[in-house]
């Protein structure tokens, strides 16, 4: 028996409240660790680990991947990977509390299909992943934390991501509206 | 809801405004206490010999950071290979301290003799930097030991001859075109290498 109607509006935190807490979290993270939080770095570690596991010689020879292969431990044994694992848990926790854990679903705009959405998700992810290496981070690590710590690069990345997003939004509108 | 948001907006503006009026804290907490400084000054452990420096340069020890504290014109005329120039008067600027306190790096001050490099060491120690040293005898001693080593008399112990051999070879290394400071700039090598062995600053000297 469904307690909630399918289209009932999900319960979200007040965004400003969430933002304040997030900002404080950034400050606390700096206070404890001297660095901010992030996310894309853990995917990079995953890539490095995978390549290293499948073709270690190739990984060593690659001038980019080899930088992230420590001598004595797995590339996955770093701060960001643990933090990203925490993100998964935190998301799960919130989903449980707010009742958003449901069967696997694909979210898409009204005028597009699920399969189209998935294709664009992969493409978008690939572009984002590729760009994040040049940008030395993603919206969390570079834009959010970078800007918050007054880093010049952080502000540039933030303006670049959102500015570009607005510039190209029209061309992908069918995906979302 | 609107009234709450207006309140929050004003609050946030006031907090942001407040950041103008909070004074910047000085880095006082990092300065070394006078008693400790006095203790450190009287230790000879800050000295490294010209032999040790020569050895580190020849072996391309990546932890070595040579800092010439003489004025820029003297540095331009002659200095040690890969040495950076931070004139003594600039030690107190942030740029002057760029080469200090880098993880795993050992900064060695030198000047013509000990006086300026010792002063640089005292100032830097007071600012809280660690792993900083002074090349005993400075460039004058360098010339006397490495470039123009004096052959020990026949009655001298074997170690004196070994030192002399080392110095002759080192001298050839340096004067074979390498005594002029090379233009490689500052090496901020982040390679973790075997720790520099703390040899006793005993053998030879000026």
């Amino acid at each position: 028996m469904n307690k909630h109607k399918i289209n009932e509006k999900p319960h979200y935190l007040n965004p400003y409240f969430g933002g304040v807490l997030l900002g404080l979290l950034v400050v606390v993270t700096f206070y404890i660790t001297g660095r901010g939080l992030g996310a894309s770095g853990s995917v990079k570690s995953t890539v490095v680990t995978t390549v290293n596991a499948i073709a270690p010689q190739h990984a060593e020879n690659n001038p980019y991947f080899s930088k992230y292969i420590p001598k004595d431990k797995s590339p996955m044994n770093n701060w960001l990977v643990y933090e990203s694992f925490g993100i998964l848990i935190g998301g799960l926790l919130s989903g449980v509390i707010y009742g958003r854990i449901k069967k696997f679903r694909i979210e898409h705009g009204k005028h597009t299909t699920s399969s189209k959405r998935l294709i664009f998700a992969v493409l978008g992810g690939a572009l984002f992943g590729f760009g994040s290496q040049f940008g030395r981070g993603c919206t969390s690590g570079a834009a959010l934390v970078g800007s918050a710590s007054f880093s010049f690069g952080g502000v540039i990345v933030m303006l670049g991501i959102f500015g570009t997003g607005y510039a190209v939004a029209y061309f992908f509108r069918k995906l979302w509206i | 809801m609107n009234k709450n948001y207006i309140f929050l907006t004003v609050l946030m503006l006031l907090l942001a405004l407040g950041t103008f009026f909070v004074p910047k804290k000085q880095l006082v907490s990092h300065e070394v206490k006078p008693e400790k400084l006095l203790l450190d000054i009287t230790q000879p452990s800050r000295y490294v010999t010209t032999d040790q420096v020569a050895k580190m340069i020849i072996e391309h020890d990546p932890t070595l950071e040579l800092i010439d504290v003489r004025p820029a014109d003297e540095y331009d005329k002659f200095s040690l290979p890969d040495a950076v120039n931070v004139p003594l008067k600039d030690i107190l600027t942030p740029e002057g301290q760029d080469n200090l306190g880098i993880e795993d790096m050992n900064a060695v001050f030198f000047s013509n003799d000990d006086i300026m490099s010792d002063q640089a060491w005292v100032i830097s120690t007071r600012l809280g930097y660690k792993n900083i040293y002074v090349m005993k005898g400075g460039l004058n001693c360098w010339i006397e030991t490495i470039i123009n080593p004096v052959e020990p008399p026949e009655t001298a112990p074997k170690t004196a001859f070994e030192t002399y051999q080392f110095r002759k070879a080192a001298g050839m290394y340096f004067t074979g075109g390498n005594s002029i400071k090379t233009d490689t700039g500052v090496k901020k090598a982040k390679i973790k290498v075997r720790r520099k062995k703390k040899e006793k600053a005993a053998s030879g000297g000026c």
């Binding site: 400050v27 660790t33 998301g91 919130s94 984002f128 570079a142 | 946030m12 942001a16």
Partner: protein, 200 residues
């Protein structure tokens, strides 16, 4: 006096425990604010949902102001915190590519993790895309290795580059953010009135 671990007030052994805890808090906040939905995230670009603007921008100004006060109270030594290094040209290029990827994919890495946690398949595919994108980057790295390292300005702050003191930026960002919040609320109302079927 922070930062605690670099100042060795807490030992480095705690590092990974703290990492997980901070990650949990981060993931929780993201999901609870609605960032686990790609439609919510993309909404900022189309005007029907400004949650990204509100949360992100609020976080930035709170953190900026917070860091300055922490410095004033002597709780945090700002000279010891990590400042993201600036590589001017590559970062501009990277952020443009990321912007396109964001609109196409509807996620960024952190939010995709929270969405995966609650069962969103499009987030999973986005994360797979991330993997592929970074892999391609690494494989083709020799082609643009020099470019990747170009434009290095070091770990410069806004103050280093402009000579303007930090409180001006904190205040400036705050003013812009607050103005944006009020304006976007109006825009959102209008856009939502016109799109009858915005389903969450």
């Amino acid at each position: 006096m922070g930062p605690l671990i670099p100042n060795e007030i807490i030992t480095g052994d705690w590092n990974f425990v703290i990492a997980i805890l901070i990650g949990i808090a981060f993931g929780f906040l993201l999901e609870a604010s609605g960032f686990s939905s790609s439609r919510n995230l993309a909404g900022v670009f189309y005007g029907y949902n400004f949650v990204v603007l509100r949360v992100f921008f609020t976080a930035v100004i709170v953190a900026m102001v917070g860091l300055l006060y922490f410095d004033y109270f002597g709780w945090l030594d700002l000279s010891k915190i990590f400042i993201l290094p600036t590589y001017l040209s590559p970062m501009i290029l990277g952020s443009v590519i990321m912007g396109i990827g964001f609109v196409m994919g509807g996620f960024c890495p952190g939010t995709s993790f929270t969405a995966i946690a609650i069962g969103k398949m499009d987030a999973l595919f986005f994360a797979i895309g991330l993997f592929i994108g970074i892999f391609i980057f690494g494989e083709s790295f020799p082609l643009f290795k020099d470019y990747y390292y170009s434009g290095s300005m070091g770990n410069v702050t806004l103050t280093d580059v402009t000579g303007i003191a930090a409180p001006w930026f904190a205040f400036g960002f705050t003013v812009i953010a607050l103005a944006a919040f009020w304006v976007s609320a109006e825009i959102e109302k209008k856009v939502r009135k016109n799109t009858k079927e915005y389903k969450f």
